[in-house]
Assembly symmetry: D3
Homo-oligomer: 245 residues x 6
């Protein structure tokens, strides 16, 4: 169920039987010339809806909170259209939201981010750690790409990445109208100098993506979205069933 | 146009001819038993779309940024389902977004909030003030209720307020499926002790709304939404045409 | 009684029978060429003394804390002589003071500001909200202009404002020696563009005041000061008598 | 001249010929049972007025800013009536005030504190250091006790201190009506364990003062106040005449 | 050369010919019963010295800054002896140090951490990002384990980790006197529930390490330390030779 | 014993019988041309080791924590090689460390700084004050120069100071290899204008030290180091034996 569409009364009636709440975290981030700025928003929203379906089939009630539409983007910060909030801002707002969930008695919480930048993810983890100081709950923080990238080397080449074959396929399966595959510029294998913090990372990353968007297909996207949802649903069920806090 | 649905390239091509960007600010807030938690989200989103229509008819290009779905709720903080972020978190994330707009060269910016709480609005104004330290732009910060409440005393009684006749009507005109008018509990005239900062404001505000939801009508809502959009469109056109920064 | 003039021992003896403490908040802010920079300081100090008189006549013991002489000024920030502290600094220092009042067991607290800027007032309310996290007390936060402006449209025109007929009259009744009425420049009806956050608001506000200082009179000032004190005294007595926290 | 009593216009006319601005910093702090809580406020205010007299006689124009009436009190924090703000709050508000002085073009600034606690003074120094990042000015930060204590061992015993013979004398010379010498409890030589940060320092400091209040005299106070003013006036004239920033 | 052992004059003479400065970041963190708390300190210090040797042989002058001996430990926070500083504290102090390096004109900077926790590393990266706002330099931020773990699956099993075969071997090669191999408790394969932020992670991590310390050897440690130093020296030489900032 | 060289198990076994933990605070700071940048690090480390010896002889178990190698330097900030962290960064990291000591049950804590700058020391005291809000412990915060300077006027002239006869002697007794006495430039009596916060203090402090390094001797250094250790050991034993918190 969508938290935002409930009334106070409906929430109040529902909260005790609730199994888990999912907070999708999106981003407004350049992904080459072929993918929309909300690429990292539509993916976790789609996964959340599919996870809800699977869990509800197993008789777990799921609440989906409104998406936080902004995230922190480090290496793509200077591309047209990227709107990056600082890790501190991200951390603050997510800490507040998780703290509110806990105040309302929610016991199982999933923070599901479409964007997987390391500082962005660290901000989310720190937010969860800070919320946990106000009480206790079982909190999971992950990107759907934490799961997706475990499958690289199967159908998708190992060096595919941001805006590549896998991500393009997934968006094609969700919002095909937003994908401009004809504007893709073929393979791209940017080699950012390793371990560097760069003022102008886009100099090393000229096409704004990494990998093989030209090999993308809606079918692969559907399959991956489904697989991610199933693996995540399993992880969440395990968390719900865990009795230790 | 929706910022989030553009690619980097489309944004890049579009930005120079852009007249104004609108950032809708929502909230997850209890509004009695008859209105959904996203009441303060659907209203500014609707107004933004109607403003876009009016402005585009006048040949101004409009960009609508992804809604920030969370806000700061003070007097309703303790109602079921309210998810309030602190004024500081709100300020930080909005400051970052506005700063990014300015970095991309956007010159006319409207922050349009559905929620009108005084600390919430102060946070938005402070965010704009801080962003202005990084450059210059014309920034407007308002709630659609700043406009709407100027019309109290006409069709809507002067003491109608949060979740009352006017707000219920407006939501009925936008998302009638989310309004549970049958769960409304009639007139409500809570008298919060004036000028007080209260730990438990809900004690004085027992129904969670103020005014006359029972007198609401979809027709009134449509009329008000239209009127707000027109007045706001006029204000924005004036801002665009102003030459001083 | 003045808190600052007591010894530790006197405070200690007095604190249990105390009904209310008033913290006046001033400002150093340009008010045209005819009013002194401490216009917003002398007014709440005067009101506090008159409120004390009224309450003591009703057998309530009143403590007046030392005035905080600095506030946050947004639209007048660039006028000669304005010394504005940030909303964050204001909030921090007021939060600390209120927290200390609560630590000493004071149960009824009034924060009375002469300046009524919206961010300034938001800072004071946030300070109170934060102090309330350390315990409980009944706290009122207001500007004397919250009361005064309810009477606009009676003797004073509705569009009178900052440094206008009403404010000039009030200062004339308190510190006539500081009013240079001959330097006033007649009516002034600045129209700041609505809802705007401006880098240089003084461009739209050229005389530094709004309204009709030329129509000011000491008599009107005395009457208004008295009326404000009486209305505020009534509000405070209601707060003291309230038993819920 | 008092900054607060000027109009914007008077400040504007005066600022170019101004030699120095003095910002007095007070405190609300327990000083035994014989001295008022504003002991540390009346002293720097008195010194500032006397310094002004001396400097104006030497043809230097002096501006006295409104006193900041609150300071940070560490070892006396738990005494009745002490209202201590944190070092961070103190630093923020003083940084803002100094930054504003510099924005208005004031080139010689003296921060004169009555209270001399080490964290309190550090906060003032840090505030000055931060303000200096926004421009340049000659800033002096001191307590009048930095000067006064250099004279211990002359008429006043070397181990006299907070609320002792020297301080009591000085307050007697300024506000004799506030001194309750009869409530003094004789000599007091608290030995706080050296270099300790204590949660409850008042356990070791039972009378709330240190030294010989019983030996205080108004005459000594007058003499000390005069001497401090003269030494400080000399330091300020040296600073004004210095040409390096 | 060690920065700390130079005089001001020596530093001043040396700084222009300097190729790179290395800042080792340590930790005080429980590593099972067999490794010392400074395990994550001695490793990067050793690597830094070996890198220096290699680089100096290639005629690059190297400066080694004093080690920051404290880091942020999340999953081991509750083990005896762990002294964890928050990510914010770590970030602040490292940001200050890097900013100072840049102020002194150092152009190539390596932050080398022994600890590899994700929030710890994020704090270091954020520190570098913030320092870069004050100017420009080439900054590399890594853990020696970023290099070491790329070799898992060769001599060391893939699931070896914190305090395991690899780390134990490395410390044996550096400070054999501090390794109490006899107190190791054999294989340990803690399975922390994936993606979870845990209040009490040690519940799932009962031996305080992960992997095969019993298979450790000084010889393997020496080999790994050497290999890491060589790979890192290569990366640093590439960075030094790069001409773009 | 050195905290850093213990294993988790050893720490765990040791902690109950522990009498006191010492945290040495160093600095990287220019001290003329004759002393190394780690002058303020080697001194408290030496004192800590000697204090440990004395206390252990009296059957008190001592833990020495890893040195924090960076401090805040105000007046020497602009000299070659000075790496100064802000007072806020210093405070944060030390607060975290002390809080961790308290979490582990350590009851007597000494923060021993080689550097004695007033803002630096204030940061350490504030850190201790903040840590004390999380529980209770006996905490001492001092510089070894708080003790050393009490002996000025005996063998060492009263106006000797930073990098002078006393400090040079002490470093000669600890690390004679790092002292370049031949690079000293004779007597230096910089007169910083009193009470001033200076943007460029080095203008008034041209040699980077104050006093008589040429009169330094290793013998005097040994004697002073010993005396400081003995006085400090006595203070610590008194603290340990104190029963009040």
């Amino acid at each position: 169920m969508k938290l935002e569409e409930m009334t106070s009364e409906e929430f109040s009636n529902f909260v005790d039987s609730l199994a888990v709440v999912i907070l999708p975290i999106g981003a407004v981030e350049g992904h080459g010339w072929h993918l929309p700025l909300n690429t990292d928003t539509v993916q976790p929203e789609k996964v959340a809806r599919e996870v809800e379906e699977i869990l509800e089939a197993d008789n777990y009630k799921v609440l989906i909170a409104p998406t936080l539409n902004y995230g922190n983007c480090r290496t793509t910060a200077n591309f047209p259209g990227t709107i990056s909030i600082t890790p501190d801002s991200l951390r603050s707002v997510v800490r507040d939201i998780l703290t509110e969930f806990m105040r309302h008695g929610l016991k199982n919480i999933v923070v599901l981010s479409g964007h997987a930048g390391s500082n962005h993810m660290a901000a989310l983890r720190m937010a969860a750690g800070e919320a946990l100081k106000t009480g206790n709950a079982k909190i999971m923080v992950l990107s759907d790409y934490d799961i997706a990238y475990k499958h690289l080397g199967e159908e998708v080449p190992k060096d595919d990445g941001h805006g590549g074959m896998l991500e393009t396929s997934r968006v094609m399966a969700i919002r095909p109208d937003l994908v401009k595959l004809e504007r893709s510029q073929g393979e791209s294998h940017p080699e950012l100098p390793p371990y560097r913090i760069l003022k102008n990372p886009e100099r090393y990353f000229t096409k704004g993506y990494r990998g093989y968007p030209d090999r993308a297909s809606e079918e692969l996207g559907r399959k991956m979205n489904q697989m991610i949802a199933e693996e995540l649903a399993k992880l969440i069920e395990d968390m719900i069933e865990e009795t230790v806090l």
